[in-house]
């Protein structure tokens, strides 16, 4: 069976696409962490990079900050997301909320963080709107609302992006579970809507949301660009420290930088392990509570609070993006004005010429990477169905590795590999580097809806004489077009927002919207940043809207 063997090969091919750069990445990180990098004079293995790392004055604070902000951001995002879904379960327009989230999901993290920084800074929009008539400030107060040592601003910056993502994943999972019917049954037994949702729907939905949750955890623990903008600088989080040291002119700092990056990896892995262990305990406790049969609880208030929280987040997000949009056409906007003093609409016309080439690169790379990822993901999922044993091949877990390893350390090793192969600087190399990050997200979004499709459709089609290819293209894909479109939109957005992979694989020769925006943001001109942030957001936004507007194929009941 030719097609069968083709599909069976898919997981192997997929893993091989990663195995090499991941292995190179690991070696490229771990070796310098233990003192070995001949190109800059490290010829012997030693533990001194680790000693340097631990001896650094702010080391303990930095690790503590990383853990606290990463875990807090993840938990708060999850609580907000679930609370919002529970609250929306009783309301008719709940599912439509997903469409409204699209702009937030489309904007890259860093552009968003800058916009948010402008809104909540002591010289930012909120204070400007209230000054000087309410607050009496004619200069900004010296209060740390961003860059505060506790990391609250950083947590906020992450929650604003991650909570909508988890809402999207939860909503997709709800479609697979017969949420409404179960809710109806529970409510008929006397449970309120939120209590019913938490006891009945959430446990069913959780297995499908677990992976995105862990991805959020890994991201929050190792985020760099948002931490640079919103997080404290003295000391910063561990990931920022690693980036700072990698970028230091003194190349000898690369060794402790690699040690910091390796430690980062350990922290992420340990956190995920800790969560999995914790989950079992929570599940046990939860079951006891559910079986106790208590009807009344404070959950309704909590979920209303969560929904209010999401509303505030939404408002902040809208303010952040509107602020950037206004900045892009402003020529002068001083404190305490709540509105620009002077406008310059030619900002945009001057930039149009500059964005043509990066925009083209961005779209081409994202499109190719998404299509390749889709082909590989579908092939792997099809292979899964044909296996002797149920479930995905364990090797596929390697797929998620890129999400765990901090980019900055991993990519140096991959870059050396590309240079040796003479492939660096080519668009193909950039596509490959993007594929490494795009595939996990696409797989995450597509796997469960795909597996949940009624297998009898395919069987019926086969019994009607359709070949395997025909079953895939004429039956499965059309029925699953909505989940596929959403998964592709997620993948597209991920690709558009990638900075370090483009930089490393392209050697600076393949400018994209994001690389241009990040380099220009180094000049701290909000007018330029605003214009580029909008352009960065428009491309994936189009993809999201297209996905959300695709009609869902609900089979007749």
């Amino acid at each position: 069976m030719r097609t069968g063997r083709l599909f069976a090969a898919a997981p192997v091919v997929t893993v091989a696409t990663f195995a090499l750069p991941i292995a190179a990445g690991f070696v490229g990180t771990l070796a310098p962490a233990f003192g070995y990098l001949p190109a800059i004079g490290g010829h012997e293995f030693s533990l001194s990079p680790w000693r340097e790392l631990v001896a650094w004055p702010g080391f303990a604070s930095s690790v503590r900050l990383t853990l606290v902000t990463g875990v807090a951001a993840t938990l708060i995002s999850a609580l907000f997301a679930f609370g919002f879904c529970a609250w929306a379960a009783g309301r008719a327009w709940g599912p439509r909320a997903a469409a409204w989230l699209a702009p937030i999901l489309a904007t890259p993290h860093s552009a968003f963080a800058i916009g948010l920084a402008f809104v909540i800074a002591p010289s930012g929009w909120i204070v400007r709107a209230l000054s000087p008539w309410l607050t009496g400030f004619d200069v900004p107060p010296d209060v740390a609302t961003i860059g505060d040592p506790s990391g609250a601003a950083l947590v906020l910056g992450m929650v604003v992006k991650e909570a909508p993502y988890l809402v999207l994943m939860t909503t997709a999972a709800l479609a697979q579970v017969r949420a409404n019917e179960h809710l109806a049954v529970a409510r008929s037994m006397g449970y309120g809507p939120t209590e019913a949702w938490v006891r009945v729907v959430l446990p069913q939905v959780w297995p499908q949301v677990r992976l995105p949750f862990l991805a959020v955890l890994a991201y929050s623990l190792s985020v760099v660009d948002v931490a640079l903008i919103l997080g404290p600088s003295n000391p910063p989080t561990l990931a920022v420290l690693a980036v700072r040291w990698f970028g230091d002119p003194d190349l000898r700092l690369w060794f402790p930088a690699a040690a910091a990056a390796s430690l980062q990896l350990v922290i992420v892995a340990a956190s995920i392990g800790a969560w999995i262990a914790l989950e079992r305990m929570i599940a046990r406790a939860g079951r006891r509570i559910v079986e106790a049969g208590r009807r009344a609880s404070t959950l309704s208030t909590l979920s209303s609070l969560a929904a209010a929280g999401v509303a505030i987040i939404g408002a902040l997000a809208v303010a952040a993006m509107t602020g950037m949009a206004i900045w892009s056409v402003a020529s002068q906007w001083r404190f305490p004005s709540a509105w620009p003093g002077a406008f310059a609409f030619d900002n945009w016309s001057r930039r149009i010429a500059d964005i043509a080439s990066p925009a083209a690169n961005t779209i081409v790379v994202a499109a190719i990477a998404t299509l390749c990822a889709l082909a590989l993901a579908v092939a792997c999922l099809e292979a899964e169905e044909r296996r002797r044993r149920a479930g995905p091949p364990p090797a596929l877990a390697l797929l998620y590795l890129p999400l765990l390893v901090p980019q900055v350390a991993f990519l140096f090793g991959a870059q050396v590999l590309l240079v040796r192969a003479g492939l660096d600087g080519a668009v193909a190399a950039v596509v490959w580097a993007h594929l490494i990050y795009v595939l996990p997200y696409l797989f995450l979004s597509l796997a469960d809806p795909w597996r949940a499709l009624d297998p009898r459709y395919a069987r019926t089609a086969a019994s009607l004489g359709a070949s395997e290819w025909r079953v895939l293209f004429a039956v499965k894909l059309p029925i699953l077009v909505r989940p596929v479109a959403i998964a592709c939109a997620v993948a597209f957005a991920v690709s558009v927002g990638l900075y370090l992979p483009t930089l490393f694989a392209g050697n600076g020769l393949v400018p994209t919207l994001t690389t241009e925006a990040v380099t220009l943001s180094a000049g701290a001109d909000r007018r330029i940043i605003g214009a580029w942030a909008l352009m960065q957001a428009l491309v994936p936004l189009a993809a999201y809207l297209a996905a959300v507007l695709v009609p869902g194929r609900r089979p007749a009941r």
Binding site: M1, R387, R388, R389, A390, D454, R456, Y457, R459, T460, A461, A462, S463, L464, G465, A466, S467, E468, V471, A474, V475, P478, I479, V481, R553, R554, P555, A556
Partner: protein, 218 residues
């Protein structure tokens, strides 16, 4: 005129044998009914005949359609039609599209294809429904379209997996008669799985009962 034959079929899950040493021949135009409680393996046997059995089961034996031994063939080459309890009309195609899907590509001419689809719809008393979407049809109408779709693929045998279970009583009689009339008209051997005695009666053929305790012996 082809018969459907099962030779020495054994299906086991772990160390529990669901079917052991079953020899069964269904002549053209006849219907054999399989009856038994849930979980006894009757649907599994159907899956084995159609080619979809879950790899978790151990299955041995042969399936022959007429003179062809199809045991090693993939499902799409066996030309054995299957009807499930749910109509499973493809939601992304119109009624006409669903029917056209089943038509072999041998029939190239578009006019010809459309004519055949229309003919099938007329047989089902659903003339002019070609451009409708399955979701807009009633349960009974969908069941009829599902059967016509299966028959348009020109199968050599027909498997029915509790196909009338979701229909209400008066509709059930109607659809049942419709299915048997058309299938038997084409002289297909039919294997019917059901737990409704009335179905077995209407089928009018031998009834094989799966025991509640212990496997069925041929």
């Amino acid at each position: 005129m082809t018969a459907l034959a099962l030779d020495g079929v054994r299906i086991a899950l772990g160390d529990r044998a669901l079917v052991d040493g079953l020899d069964l021949t269904i002549d053209a135009g006849r219907c054999v009914t399989l009856m038994g409680p849930s979980g006894c393996g009757k649907s599994t046997l159907l899956a084995f005949v159609a080619g979809f059995i879950d790899p978790a089961f151990e299955a041995r034996g042969r399936v022959r359609v007429g003179d062809d031994d199809v045991t090693a063939c993939p499902p799409q080459r066996r030309r054995i039609g299957i009807l499930f309890q749910d109509d499973l009309l493809f939601p992304h195609l119109t009624v006409g599209g669903n029917l056209a899907f089943a038509l072999h590509e041998r029939v190239r001419d578009r006019e010809e294809r459309r004519a055949r689809v229309e003919a099938a719809l007329r047989e089902a008393d659903l003339a002019g429904f070609a451009s409708r979407h399955p979701a807009t049809l009633s349960g009974g109408q969908r069941a009829r379209v599902a059967l016509m779709r299966t028959l348009l693929a020109e199968p050599r045998a027909l498997l029915l997996d509790e196909p009338f279970g979701k229909l209400d009583a008066p509709l059930r009689d109607e659809v049942r008669r419709f299915v048997f009339d058309h299938a038997l008209e084409r002289a297909l051997p039919i294997l019917l799985v059901t737990h409704d005695e009335a179905d077995a009666l209407a089928a009018g053929g031998p009834v094989l009962r799966f025991g509640a305790a212990g496997p069925l012996h041929g």
